[in-house]
């Protein structure tokens, strides 16, 4: 019985070690990435690195309605264009879709490598402002009553890995 227990313990230890190695390898594989690429550095008139402070409420899952969803960012660095604000509001088109497949018949020149929007992630984005000059569609802006600042339009959105 004790021999079986010992074997089981050894197996468990091995599995734990394996899982630990996999976790370490995965985290090691996340190389730092500034999010810089040919699109984000050329599209739009403003280019920033910014932290996504919050996603206010749920992202509506309404397949037949295209919409832009406004998210709040803290600007960490301005790479291009004129932008003085520390906090900005950015509209992302159909935010439940991966950026590499979000372009469609309504919005053609849009993309990036963000798969999923998560609060506190850092993004490098090419932007335009105001959103209405570049996008004609439904906008879900849950900051409508809080801020009258112009909403930026996310043209290209990449993840930044520190």
């Amino acid at each position: 019985m004790t021999r079986i227990h010992a074997r089981l313990r050894r197996s468990a230890n091995l599995i734990c070690a394996f899982v630990l190695i996999v976790i370490l390898c995965t985290s090691c594989s996340k190389k730092p990435d500034t999010g810089r690429d040919a699109k984000v550095t050329t599209l739009g008139s403003i280019e920033v690195t910014a932290k996504l402070l919050e996603i206010k409420g749920d992202l509506p899952d309404i397949a037949m309605y295209d919409y832009a969803f406004v998210m709040k960012y803290e600007v960490l660095q301005v790479h291009r264009g004129n932008l003085d604000a520390k906090l900005i509001y950015v509209g992302h088109y159909n935010p439940l879709k991966s950026r590499d497949s979000v372009a469609d018949g309504r919005v053609t020149e849009i993309g990036g490598n963000i798969k999923r929007f998560r609060a506190l992630d850092v993004h490098r984005m090419a932007l335009e402002v105001p959103i209405d000059d570049y996008y004609m569609g439904g906008i879900i802006n849950r900051y409508f009553d809080q801020s009258k600042e112009p909403v930026y339009w996310a043209v290209w959105s990449n993840n930044v890995v520190k």
């Binding site: 037949m64 309605y65 919409y67 309504r106 209405d132 004609m136 569609g137 439904g138 906008i139 879900i140």
Partner: protein
């Protein structure tokens, strides 16, 4: 492995057969539903009453699978295909104020009509109301969300850069306005003083709004989950689709109903609702006595399928609730429930009282 395959195949065949049975069952159910509605009290009288009241133009899918434009009498008789273009899809026809012309969008045959984008798709086309003398006006994606002006000599259009007015004879842009968050389904009022449309600038993504052309000032008429507005003949009231919040039906998503309101948005009321159907495409007759709409199974207005049954009711019978609609009836106890004349399947219909030149 092979037995697994056989089981899979049997399951697929069964699923296909079951699907066919369900689909056939649904079609039969729809037929029965239609027959019951047509036999309901007052429907035959309503059909007789509206028979000679001009023409309805609408888009519908043909037996070849494409979308063409059709005209019919308001009682559903005398249906004619007025485009007959197997290589194109046609959609969203609107009669000119005098009823002699129509404008519509012509799309490539393989382009799916998008319920929220149709005014931006394909090319703008003008024709006589009987489908003759077709003039393609502009290129693909030009003159988007075009709407007739009150004299039929100008159109209002809308792009991301703003609203603009075009003189049809010269193609000159004769005026511009900021679009103030308007983004689809713009319609110019019969008196020429207003625009209505769907806007994102009133705290929700889909508001019905009104804009005064002289000043560019805009106000919300209805704020939440609302779209497809159109004018009454007095240019002071609007009809629109609205999905009120907190409905239990349709998995908590609710059903879209037909509502009306004054231009200020201070007085809103239900026109027609039916739990189990989304009511879209609402327009009023030229004398504002009747209401024409589509009753869709699906939220998208069904342009991706074959449209949905169109229907006519008298405005004096509003509010009318169709079907059992237990939840809806609890919210609106004093309904009039007048006759509803069910018409062929179609999408985005429009109505004129003019003689459009169709010969018998």
């Amino acid at each position: 492995m092979s037995s697994d395959l056989k089981i899979c195949t049997k399951m697929l065949v069964f699923a296909a057969l079951a699907g066919g049975v369900v689909s056939a069952g649904q079609a039969r159910g729809e037929e029965i539903r239609r027959a019951k509605q047509q036999a309901a009290p007052g429907v035959a009288e309503l059909a007789k009453e509206v028979h000679d009241k001009g023409w309805i133009v609408y888009g519908a899918r043909t037996s070849k699978g494409d979308w063409d434009l059709f005209t019919m009498r308001p009682d559903g008789s005398d249906v004619r295909n007025i485009t007959n273009t197997a290589n194109f899809n046609e959609a969203a026809p609107r009669f000119s104020p005098d009823g002699r012309k129509i404008l519509y969008r012509r799309l490539r045959r393989n382009e799916k009509i998008e319920p929220n984008r149709f005014g931006m798709q394909g090319r703008l086309v003008f024709a006589n109301s009987d489908g003759s003398d077709v003039v393609v006006y502009g290129k693909q994606g030009q003159y988007t969300w075009a709407s007739w002006g009150p004299q039929g000599k100008r159109i209002a259009c809308m792009s991301a850069k703003g609203i603009y007015f075009v003189d049809l004879s010269t193609k000159e842009v004769v005026g511009r306005l900021s679009r103030q968050g308007f983004f689809q389904q713009v319609s110019w009022s019969p008196d020429g003083k207003w625009l209505c449309g769907v806007a994102n600038s009133f705290g929700t993504g889909w508001s019905v709004a009104r804009m005064e052309i002289a000043t560019g000032a805009a106000n919300a008429v209805n704020r939440v989950n609302t779209c497809t507005p159109d004018w009454f003949a007095d240019s002071r009231h609007l009809i629109f689709s609205y999905r009120p919040p907190n409905q239990q039906g349709n998995n908590g998503n609710g059903w879209t109903q037909l509502w009306m309101a004054d231009g200020e948005g201070t007085q809103r009321s239900l026109v027609y609702g039916e739990d189990g159907r989304h009511i879209y495409g609402g327009v009023v007759s030229p004398d504002s006595r009747y209401v024409l709409f589509t009753g869709n199974d699906r939220e998208d207005g069904d342009p991706t399928r074959a449209g949905a049954p169109m229907a006519i009711m008298r405005l004096q019978d509003a509010p009318t609730i169709g079907g059992q609609s237990i939840a809806l009836r609890q919210l609106h106890e004093n309904t009039r429930d007048g006759p509803v004349l069910v018409l062929p399947d179609g999408w985005e219909p429009h109505w004129t009282y003019a003689d459009i030149g169709v010969k018998k």
